[in-house]
Each structure stands twice: as C-alpha cells, then as structure tokens.
C-alpha cells in the first residue's frame, strides 16, 4: 500500500526508542514520564461517573458543551483578565494536542513557514509538516535559561514566517517566561505580522510568580491562539480534554476541521472538566505544591552532584546538562546500568542536544532513589 509522502517524511518520535528500552526492564524508575503521577481529583472523576449514570453519552455541540465553554471563559477572565466569547472564541477539543493539530490544518497553507521555538513538545514539528508547512527551527539556549528572545527569532529567520509556536512553561525544559520576557517576542510578532500559537498547557504549574500569557500583551489577543486543557493541571491526561481560545475567524476555521474529524470532544471528559473548573482549584494548588517541593529537591540534588542545571520554574521537568556530551548515549547507559529512565533532550528538537529531560512527576521516594542511583552512576 502506498503511504502519503508527508507521513513518510516524518520519522517516528525519538521518545519511542526510550520507551521500548525502558519497557524491557522490570526495575525501572522512570523520570521519563510526561504526565502527572496523581489521579484526577475525585470530584472530577465523580462528575464523570455521575454523567454516565445519568446517561449523558451523546455528542455535545461541536465546540463543546455551552456550560463548559462559559466556565472556561470565566476561568480565563478571572485568571488573566482576558475576555473570550464562549460562543465564538472557545473550542473544546480532545486534548490540547487536537487543538494544535486543527490549528495547524486551519492556518497553514502548503509552503507556509512556521517558526517553532525549541526544544519543544514533540508534536509541533510533525503537526506543521502534516499540514504542509515548513518548519523554521528557533532554538533557545541554556545560557538564556531557554527563554525565547527576539534576537533568536531574528537570527533564525522567523521574520518571514506566518506563524510562531511557543510553549511556556516549557516541555521539556521547565523554562517559564515572564511578562517582561514575552514583551519583545510580542513586539516581534506584531512587527512581522506573525500569528502566535501559544501552548500554555502547563500554565497552572508555574512556581515563581504568576504565569504570564502572551495573549495578555497589547495587540496580541487578536493574533494569538492560546492552547490549554485539563491534562497537566488537573491530572486528567487520559480523559483527553483541552481547549483553544482565539479570534472568532480562527476558532471557526478550527471548528470546521474539528466538526468533521471529531464531531465533539469526549462528553464524559467534558463533564469532568466542568467539575474540575468549578471545584478542583484546591486540588490543583496541592499538586502544584507537591511538584514544587520535588522540583527543589531535584535541583538541589543536581547542584550537589555538580550537574549543571538551570533553575526550571515551570511544568514538572528539569533539563540538566548531560554529564557526557552525547546525551542519548548517556541516557541509554544510565538506563542500562541503573534502571533510571530519562529522555535525551535532542528528541525535543533544536537546542535540546546535550541535555536530559528529567520529569519529577514521580513520588518522592522513587525520586530520591533515582537521584541516588544517578549520583552513584556519575560519581
């Protein structure tokens, strides 16, 4: 059977190889997991169960249940003082990943250039490629704490791009960007008329100050699509529920694809999400404080081992420099000899090589044991 060229052009995720290696062993402590170790708050799970008991198993409106869209808009208004019309500017999707995919398909014409700040979540580059776009790699640097700068955008040719994709708090680095740091990026986007796709799925997991959204900067809401969801903040990854916020024309275009491919996001998950927004703020705060403790623990342990690691202040990742230049070889050896799985930074694209993504979405006892093993291994 003939496969489409654009699919053949995209290699399988580099994560896959480490997954297979880790699966071969029994005693693995994995610091390679990109999802919370908590279960979704009970209140949200109960809402899902309740919706099933009441027989709420039909499709919802394409854009998502009106009540959920209103709750999302109210949450965002409350949090960022940004107003989105629930009827026109909110799209509920099967995870933020689906929202990103439909955004690429809705906004990218074949040959369009899409600047992607990297290292970054593994789906952006393939998503752009599947949509026929050309990726412009914009690497960020450890020396700048993996913050995206206007100079990097300029230097790597983002001025000619149609779109800019960024993700802060960042997977895989754990970097965050303050309002002041976002300002020059916003200016660059306005000057060069870039549409910005801002993946803010880790927004709730910001440990130094409040998360800043680029959409809140002057003149940005009208050129920005914000992606968020329930996977990370509410530990609901498996329920697959996210959303996009943006100008009506963009959201309508995204919905046109979404209505044909998904029809509507999973109904059970939408009920859980509504409850999450209404009742799970404390649970999020509690998980956040647990992550923050582990973050401090991991960063201190790396510092004590003499492993160079910038102070990641978001998501649940640290991104230390690999003790050996070849991070992939180091990660493989570490897994083989100690059973600790980490992901080499190179799989997350430009700027990631030579680093390791270390997830601290793992209980403290395992985290301590993993750090002890790493210390012995590098010592």
């Amino acid at each position: 059977m003939k496969l489409a060229d654009r699919v053949e052009a995209v290699p399988p995720s580099g994560i896959r190889r480490f997954f297979e290696l880790a699966e071969e062993r029994e005693d693995v402590i994995s610091l390679g997991v990109g999802e919370p170790d908590f279960a979704a708050p009970w209140s949200a799970r109960e809402a899902a169960i309740d919706s099933l008991e009441r027989g709420r198993t039909s499709y919802t409106a394409n854009r998502g249940m009106a009540e959920l869209r209103a709750a999302i808009a109210a949450h965002v208004d409350d949090r960022y003082d940004l107003q989105y019309d629930p009827d026109e500017e909110v799209l509920v999707t099967a995870g933020a990943s689906e929202a990103l995919d439909v955004a690429f398909r809705a906004l990218v014409d074949p040959g369009d250039r899409v600047a992607v700040a990297q290292p970054a979540y593994v789906s952006y580059v393939p998503g752009v490629t599947f949509a026929g776009g050309e990726v412009v790699d914009v690497p960020t640097r450890a020396a700048e704490e993996f913050v995206l700068t206007a100079e990097a955008l300029e230097r790597h040719g983002a001025a000619d791009a149609e779109l800019l994709v960024l993700c802060y708090p960042n997977n895989p680095t754990g970097a965050t960007m303050s309002r002041d740091e976002l300002e020059p990026v916003a200016r660059f986007a306005r000057e060069h008329d870039l549409t910005v796709l801002s993946d803010e799925i880790y927004a709730a997991l910001t440990y130094a100050g409040e998360h800043a959204s680029i959409a809140t900067l002057p003149g940005m809401a009208e050129r920005t699509i914000v992606f968020n969801g329930f996977s990370k903040a509410y530990a609901m990854t498996g329920l697959r529920l996210g959303y996009a916020l943006g100008p009506p024309a963009a959201v309508t275009a995204m919905n046109r694809i979404h209505q044909y491919s998904l029809l509507s996001a999973p109904t059970t998950a939408q009920h859980a999400a509504l409850d999450a927004l209404e009742h799970c703020g404390n649970a999020v705060a509690e998980m956040r404080s647990q992550y923050d403790r582990r973050r401090r623990f991991v960063l201190s342990r790396f510092a004590e081992m003499g492993i160079d690691c910038f102070e990641a202040t978001g998501a649940f990742y640290a991104f230390p420099e690999s003790p050996r230049a070849d991070a992939a070889a180091f990660a493989e050896a570490l897994l083989e000899e100690t059973g600790v799985a980490v992901v080499p930074g190179g799989v997350f694209g430009a700027g990631g090589a030579g680093h390791l993504r270390v997830s601290y979405a793992t209980g403290l006892a395992d985290l301590r044991e993993a750090m002890d093993r790493i210390e012995r291994f590098v010592g």
């Binding site: 994560i15 997991v33 990109g34 403790r293 799985a341 301590r368």
Partner: protein
Amino acid sequence: MNGRDEDASSRDDGGDRAELRALLSENARHSIADLARLADMDEAAVEATIEELESEGVIRGYQAVVDPSRVEPEPVRALVECNVTLDRETGYDDIAARLVEFPEANSLRLVSGDYDFALEVEGDSMSEVSRFIAEKVAPVPEITQTVTHYIMDTYKERGIEMSDGHEDDRLSVSP
C-alpha cells in the same frame, strides 16, 4: 484555660515553619538533608526550626501509621462517645485531663453534636477494652453516658490508605 493556648505565637505559623510542618506531617522520616532540599532552606535552619516547633509544642510527636490488620494479634480498637455533665468547678478540660492519663486512650477529642467527647481506646482484646470502658471511663462522675463502637476495619488513617494502592499504569516514557 487550656494550657496549649497560652502562647499565641506558637500558632503563628508561616513560611518555613508551615512548610516544614507540612513536610513532616506527610512523612516524619524525611532526613534533615532532604527537608532542606524540599523546603529550600539550609540544614541548620531546618534543625533550628524543627527544634522550635517541638519546644513550642506545635509538633507533639512522631509516630508510624500501622495497619492494624497486619499486626498479630490484631489490636482491638473502639470509638467511645462520651456524654458529660459540667458544673461550676468542672469544665471539659478537667474531664479531659483525667481521661488522657489512661494509656488505653489513644485519642480524645471534644466534638460538636450529639455527644461531647470522642474517645478512641485500644487494647489487646475485646474484653480488655470493654473492661476498661466499664471500669475506668463510665465511672468518671461527670460522664453521664457512653456509647461504644468497636472498629471493624480501617481503610484510611491520618491520610494514609491501608489498601496496597494504585499501580502506576502510566507509560514508562512519554512525551
């Protein structure tokens, strides 16, 4: 007045004190070094703060949470509802001061609702616990009535579940 309330400053917890209290409540066996890493403090400050919390009586002790069903012989525990009568000379604190002296009394709380004290009692056998309640608790002059509930099974104690917990069924490596 209750002696615990005399020093109001001991309840004025914030910042590092609150963080250490939370960490120790979760796991009292964290090492000083780990507490320092988790709370972003230096070790000397951790030790000093814990000493402070202990000497002020904020932290009253450290215990293991034991699953009674895994202990041979399984201890017998009962919740005893106690109703009391007060007079000018005798307040709740006075009655409590007598009850806490019994080593069989595991916990004692003044509660709102249909009865006054919730007393948890532990012994080696049902007869031992019954005898204790009949001979030591019920005869206390201010105690007008007791209702005893034997504990049949324990599912969660001090925030810790007694089941073997949820398997981590996440993919071992994911993006």
